[in-house]
């Protein structure tokens, strides 16, 4: 069953003769429980595609259905609520709030979902334990290594049990050992818990952990590879 269905997405920037089309009539489906990797060179449009699929940007034309909902028609407030309840994000540079402890960073979306302080704290601790950082709850991001920060970001993304986890070059700022560990964590989430994952990466080695790789070039999908 497809959890994401994107049909004929086009994304254009600028107006008049300065118009630049970054995505050209792209269609893609993602099955529930699938781990999809989007690959391509810089400027190929892979991140732009992910932003459309993850409701962070709105396509110039085309339709996107996530879990049966046409997300293109959502207004800003509804899109924010949809992201909160349905999606999880891991960004390239961890994107933690520097003033909050690891535990509080993870608690944020849980509190926003309406959990009590105590419940959010318990869930946050469990999520931090799950990514292998037990005991690091009170640490500020600055007191954690890059790999640990990315783990906290993954814990934040997963604590609310999202239907889809989007990861935008999650290993880009990490050394190879930490990068490998993060990919293993994401893979295990997919394999052990059936977490749907959409990951953008430019490293073939990490993309091979996915079930399927789509290759992008010049705003179009130019290849697809089913790995398992």
């Amino acid at each position: 069953m497809d959890i994401i269905t994107a049909k004929n997405i086009t994304r254009t920037f600028g107006t008049g003769h300065l118009t630049q089309t970054v995505l050209k009539d792209v269609s893609v489906n993602v099955k529930q429980g699938e781990f999809l990797a989007i690959m391509g060179k810089s400027g190929a449009g892979k991140s732009t595609l992910m932003y459309q699929l993850s409701v962070l940007d709105e396509p110039t034309s085309g339709e996107i259905f996530i879990d049966g909902i046409n997300v293109v028609s959502l207004d800003k407030e509804a899109a924010t609520t949809f992201r909160l309840n349905t999606l999880g994000y891991v960004f390239q540079d961890y994107a933690l709030v520097p003033d909050l402890s690891a535990e509080e960073n993870v608690m944020l979306p849980l509190l926003m979902r309406g959990n009590t302080w105590e419940a959010a704290r318990e869930l946050a601790k469990k999520a931090i334990d799950d990514v292998g950082l037990a005991g690091k709850y009170p640490n500020l991001p600055a007191q954690l290594s890059g790999g640990e920060q990315q783990r906290v970001a993954i814990a934040r993304a997963l604590a609310g049990k999202p239907k889809i986890l989007f990861a935008d070059e999650p290993t880009a700022n990490l050394d190879s050992i930490s990068g490998q560990a993060i990919i293993e964590l994401i893979t295990s989430l997919n394999q052990d818990y059936g977490q749907t994952v959409v990951m953008v990466t430019h490293e073939r080695e990490y993309a091979e952990s996915a079930n399927r790789i789509i290759q992008m070039e010049d705003g179009q999908i130019v290849g697809e590879e089913k790995l398992r």
């Binding site: 932003y51 924010t80 909160l84 999880g88 994000y89 709030v97 979306p109 509190l111 926003m112």
Partner: protein, 416 residues
């Protein structure tokens, strides 16, 4: 509710982790702004309040009895005095007979009888020196010579502004006589009656009713002004509890004293221009202080704007993970509120804990009053509230400007 809770978490942690010196500086600016708002109008009003206080202490007292509008003098003054003596709430009172006369000096040295006489039109008060002293402590205003002795006759106290030496600072505003010293002989004339007096002392006060007055014993006044009915022009009273003056006035009215004279509390009897100037200064002070609020609100806006702008990407990511923009805006409003509250609280502490007492002990020496700092709690509360609200708006607007930007643009650092 969850929005406020998350906003509080974000905002409070930002305050906690902020640079201590930056936070101190912002709070200091807020404190100065608040003080500016309080002090500018407070000192302007304090100038007049100082004058008002001096008039009450040195001249009018807490309750004033004067002639009814259709009478020249207080009727049956002695009956009224007997009644006043029976009131335990009245700690002191002075009966004043008032008139105007011509004061002449240096007439003995004048050789040319066709030449200009050294004269001044003066106000004359006939008093009981003991009662006046108990009422206003007039002897404290004697800057040269001595106070009137109730057992002596033929002596006069002259207000400094009737003497050339002291009034020269004010130019030619006042009519004066020259070369007046204690021991000098002067002549006081009312109508066709003249009497020679020896100057006992020179009086100087910031209250014109003292510095522009001459005092002679009551019995000599009656002889000079041909006032043998003993009816006075003014009776001023000091009460054990000055704030009770309205209540005592009602009691005096209940005793039918208002059939014989007009009874006024100090507030009713004080010169109207004092109230008018006070109100004008208050408006002026508030206006000048408001400029300070504008400056502070701009400062807060810039601080919050830079803070939010430097966290633009973080704000974008918070929105991306589903945090309501109102929670993020609340975080910045909380910071602005924190700066305003702490700065104002310090300002209040400094005003009421130190400045008011300091100016009370060391009043500013103005020519017409001893300026104090006036900060009425109600006025302070309004200023506090206005500063607080304006600061909240100043915090909200720039934060909102950043928070409302497109989420993805914020994350990617794009301008469009």
């Amino acid at each position: 509710m969850r929005t406020i809770r998350i906003g509080f978490l974000l905002g409070w942690r930002q305050i906690q982790r902020a640079n201590i010196w930056t936070t101190t500086l912002i709070i200091f600016v807020m404190m100065l702004t608040f003080l500016n708002l309080i002090a500018v109008s407070g000192i302007l009003v304090g100038l007049i309040a100082g004058a008002e206080k001096a008039v009450r202490e040195d001249s009018l007292g807490d309750l004033i009895i004067s002639a009814k509008d259709d009478e020249d003098r207080i009727l049956e003054t002695e009956t009224i005095i007997r009644q006043l003596e029976a009131f335990p709430e009245i700690t002191a009172f002075s009966v004043r007979h008032q008139g105007s006369g011509v004061l002449e000096a240096n007439y003995k040295e004048r050789r040319d009888l066709r030449g200009e006489r050294d004269i001044a039109n003066v106000r004359v008060s006939g008093i009981d020196p003991i009662k006046e002293e108990a009422m206003t402590g007039l002897s404290a205003d004697v800057i040269e010579g001595e106070f009137l002795d109730p057992n002596e006759e033929g002596y006069i106290l002259i207000g400094a502004l009737y003497t050339e030496e002291y009034a020269s600072n004010f130019g030619d505003v006042f009519e004066t006589v020259s070369n007046i010293k204690p021991g000098s002989t002067v002549r006081l004339t009312s109508g066709q009656v003249s009497k020679e007096f020896i100057v006992k002392g020179i009086l100087q006060s910031k209250v014109d009713e003292v510095s522009l007055n001459t005092y002679i014993p009551e019995r000599e006044f009656r002889r000079l002004f041909d006032r043998f009915d003993r009816n006075a022009d003014q009776i001023v009273m000091r009460l054990a509890k000055p704030e009770d003056n309205a209540r005592i006035k009602e009691i005096l009215i209940a005793n039918n004293i208002d059939d014989l004279a007009k009874i006024q509390t100090y507030e009713e009897g004080k010169p109207k221009f004092i109230t008018d100037i006070k109100n004008t200064f208050n408006i002026l002070g508030t206006f000048i202080g408001s400029i300070g609020i504008v400056v502070a609100s701009i400062t807060i806006s810039i601080i919050i704007f830079i803070n939010a702008l430097s966290r633009r990407r973080q704000i974008g990511i918070l929105k991306a993970i589903g945090i309501d923009r109102r929670a993020i805006e609340f975080a910045y409003i909380l910071q602005a509120a924190f700066y305003a509250l702490l700065g104002s609280a310090l300002g209040v502490l400094l005003t009421y804990g130190f400045l008011i007492g300091f100016f009370e002990r060391n009043p500013i020496n103005f020519p017409f009053s001893d300026g104090i700092l006036v900060a009425e709690p109600v006025g302070t509360a309004w200023r506090f509230l206005s500063l607080f609200l304006i600061t909240l708006i100043a915090g909200f607007l720039p934060a909102s400007l950043i928070v409302r930007q497109n989420t993805l643009n914020s994350i990617l650092g794009r301008n469009k």
